[in-house]
């Protein structure tokens, strides 16, 4: 999808007639600027953008812009060169007259149906649902333009908002066009920017945002970003004032947006008031949350299935295999692998599992319980199973000898060493909190000489250098995540099983803890340091690993699994240079990659 944002830049500010094929539908948002002159009878907020539109004409303006878009998009490009070459200059700020002239030129056909509004910048606000109501939403939209209320906010707040809008627009724009594709209506947000930027003078880099019927959603996002920026600038009073606004706005939202706003607001509050970070909930509770997250969304299942497929393929023809799991938790990944090994042609191998887990507060041995359950399962399906549990508060405490002892690598009767696989599902990013830990762990992994290393990580950049960067990224990521949880199950119309709702509530809490960690913690406490696949690739390559392509079998299995989820088409499995990612609509959220030790043997351990 072409980047309207960049097109806007290219088009420059002085050619009002060079419109792209997608033109704004009169969706202008109140930019909260103060101190702009108010012309009598002219809408104050649009005046801030440089448009002079009489309040009485607002409905007509909206309608005409819609007609214009239909006219321009329905005809082929034949009109556009004509328009571009047209040298007649109209005063662009007189929107009403200009539109009139455009329309009379094009002789737009009477279009009975106004195009539906899109849920644009209000991320995660169930945009799948808004796409379904075309004509019903059109009249409210016109009236919404009349409902502009000047936002009561301090001048400082207004300014803060503007600045963050600038930054946020840059970040939003690559995403928004992609989001638009999934809605049935055409994009307007980026084109609105295009219109505005092409009509604005070059000095004023006023960003434009789009309004739709859910303007509070947009305001909510802006308030969140403004608050985050205030926090970054240590302007705690402004941040606090914004927080109150946020909670008010959040109450007006529903569904995933409300939850996201709630969690982020809470996390910001923790950061501002320097509450102690969330108490380390005992591991039992954390495990419970984790297992509910496992059940309510396909991400973890996807991770397990794809990693298992890679491990299975790496283990072909080995009679002794050893899997080291960096985060055993409930061991939900391994029944499927055991079953697959039992059914592989040639018979099952002898299977050893080393599970690593954090120390338990009540001295109960959770690892042994999991190992026991797995061994019961393995015995029933006829696999020779051995288990070893390792308690370690951090992966960096592990040494290769510990993992392979007591007899080192086993050898089968032909003297062939056992095949070792290292599996890490969302564990590695936590090592980034302490300098040097990552390198040590990767060195340990390399020393084990594994046949395959499977790494599953969240596909997000929550480890940026500035707080605002992290906050914005996290807002995007978790909005998509919550949206997928909400809409990925059965469409809420039929109602959900009560149990599923309970699972989702727990899954929400699980994600809420992550949000709190990303936003409110710093230093070694901030363990949710997600990074993008590109950075992980670089890191693994630097540590001496080379990528293993996940085959088409893994892709097929993942696609089949996702086809079973009722939310169906929202989820996307994609392949990128041998790694598989699962995402919600166009946003990848989790990525699986596989590695093996590279040929270069001269890396210092």
């Amino acid at each position: 999808m072409k980047r309207e944002h960049e097109d806007a830049g290219r088009m420059g500010g002085d050619d009002p007639m060079a419109m792209g094929p997608e033109i704004a539908k009169g969706k202008m948002v109140p930019v909260m600027r103060t101190g702009d002159e108010m012309e009598c009878g002219v809408d104050e907020l649009l005046a801030a953008l440089g448009y002079k539109v009489r309040a009485s004409d607002m409905a007509d303006v909206a309608q005409k812009l819609a007609q214009l878009e239909v006219a321009m998009s329905s005809d082929d490009a034949s009109h556009l060169p004509q328009l571009a070459a047209d040298t007649v200059h109209y005063d662009p700020s007189d929107l009403y007259a200009w539109l009139d002239s455009m329309l009379s030129e094009l002789n737009a056909p009477p279009c009975a149906q106004l195009l539906p509004p899109t849920a644009t910048a209000s991320r995660g606000n169930g945009h799948s649902s808004t796409a379904a109501k075309p004509s019903a939403a059109a009249p409210p939209r016109a009236s919404a333009l009349h409902d502009f209320k000047p936002v009561v906010s301090a001048a400082s707040v207004g300014r803060v908002v503007c600045d963050t809008e600038q930054q946020s627009e840059k970040i939003l724009s690559p995403r928004d066009p992609k989001r638009m594709r999934t809605c049935s209506s055409s994009s307007s947000s980026s084109s609105a920017k295009e219109v505005a930027s092409s009509l604005k003078s070059a000095t004023e880099a006023l960003p434009v945002v789009v309004v739709d019927t859910q303007e509070t959603g947009v305001r909510l996002v802006h308030a969140l970003l403004a608050s985050a920026e205030a926090v970054q600038q240590e302007n705690l009073k402004a941040a606090d004032a914004l927080l109150k606004q946020i909670s008010m706005l959040a109450a007006s939202q529903s569904g995933p947006m409300r939850k996201v706003a709630g969690y982020f607001a809470e996390a910001l509050a923790r950061r501002i008031y320097r509450h102690s970070p969330l108490p380390q909930a005992d591991r039992v509770a954390l495990d419970l949350l984790h297992s509910h997250f496992y059940e309510s969304a396909p991400y973890l299942k996807f991770a397990h299935f794809t990693a298992n497929q890679a491990i299975l393929e790496a283990f072909t023809s080995f009679r002794q295999v050893h899997v080291i799991d960096f985060g055993l938790k409930q061991g939900m990944q391994w029944p499927a692998l055991l079953q697959a090994l039992a059914l592989r042609p040639g018979g099952p191998p002898s299977f050893r599992l080393t599970g690593i887990g954090p120390p338990q507060p009540d001295n109960s041995d959770a690892l042994q319980e999991v190992g026991w359950k797995l061994s019961m399962l393995a015995e029933s399906i006829g696999i020779d199973f051995h288990f070893r549990g390792f308690v370690a508060s951090s992966l960096a405490d592990l040494e290769p000898q510990m993992l392979l002892e007591p007899e080192g690598k086993r050898r089968d009767r032909d003297g062939v060493e056992e095949a070792v696989a290292v599996n890490s599902v969302m564990e590695l990013h936590q090592l980034l909190a302490r300098p040097g830990a990552m390198e040590k762990v990767l060195g340990t992994v390399r020393a084990l000489r594994p046949r395959i290393v499977t790494v599953v990580e969240e596909e997000a950049n929550h480890n940026g250098r500035t707080f605002l960067e992290r906050f914005t990224e996290a807002l995007h990521y978790y909005s998509s995540m919550f949206d997928s949880l909400e809409n990925g199950g059965d469409s809420g119309a039929d109602g959900e099983l009560e149990e599923q709702q309970r699972h989702r509530a727990m899954a929400d809490a699980y994600l809420g803890r992550q949000i709190c960690n990303v936003v409110a913690s710093e230093g070694t406490d901030r363990t949710e340091r997600h990074e993008t696949l590109g950075r992980w690739r670089g890191r693994m390559a630097q540590a001496g690993f080379e990528p293993v392509h996940l085959g088409s079998n893994a892709f097929k299995q993942a696609s089949m699994l996702l086809a079973l989820y009722a939310g169906g088409d929202g989820f996307r499995v994609e392949e990128a240079e041998g790694c598989l990612t699962l995402g919600w609509h166009t946003r990848p959220l989790i990525a699986t990659s596989a590695w093996r030790v590279g040929p270069a043997a001269d890396f210092a351990l």
Partner: protein
């Protein structure tokens, strides 16, 4: 619907109506099993309500094994005997169908009903493979294993995503 002779004994007619010999299906349970094995899951379950014999035959693992294999994509030709023992250990073909394959097929049929506007990228994936079904089955079986010392277990929920919600309003 199959046309079956009434399952009650009739006197054999010799040279009677067109010389056909009637064959009460209930006399031969194996034949009945063969026939029932060609049904789909729902019909087979319904057939199990006909009479005690049909119920007993309809519960045979071999019958459900045939049903399962008929409805899943044929993967690599694995050792059939090995599959049988593994499935038996995990709970049997009937359970496999009831928990995994049946709901999965229903889900896919529902998706297909929603229309061809559905994305085509995974159209090839709109069937259930035996390996996927077995993976899900094994996870469910694992969840049902009791913990040490009989600790309070969470009800197994890994297959909830396949369940259809019932509107109880």
């Amino acid at each position: 619907m199959m046309m079956l002779l009434l399952p009650h004994r009739e006197e054999e007619e010799e040279g009677g109506a067109a010389g056909r010999r009637r064959f009460p299906i209930n006399d031969n349970a194996d034949l009945l099993a063969e026939v029932l094995g060609r049904l789909d899951g729902r019909s087979l379950a319904v057939a199990g309500c006909v009479c005690r014999l049909w119920s007993a035959v309809g519960r045979r693992e071999a019958v459900w094994e045939a049903v399962c294999h008929r409805h899943v994509a044929v993967g690599r030709a694995g050792a059939a005997g090995g599959t049988r023992s593994v499935v038996a250990a995990l709970g049997g073909y009937r359970r496999l169908y009831r928990l995994c394959i049946g709901p999965a097929l229903d889900r896919l049929a529902g998706v297909r009903r929603q229309g061809p506007a559905v994305s085509s990228s995974s159209s090839a994936a709109r069937h259930v493979s035996l390996s996927l079904a077995l993976s899900l089955f094994s996870i469910d079986c694992y969840e049902r294993l009791g913990g040490v010392g009989g600790r309070q277990q969470q009800p197994p929920a890994s297959l909830l995503f396949l369940c259809k919600p019932v509107d109880v309003s």
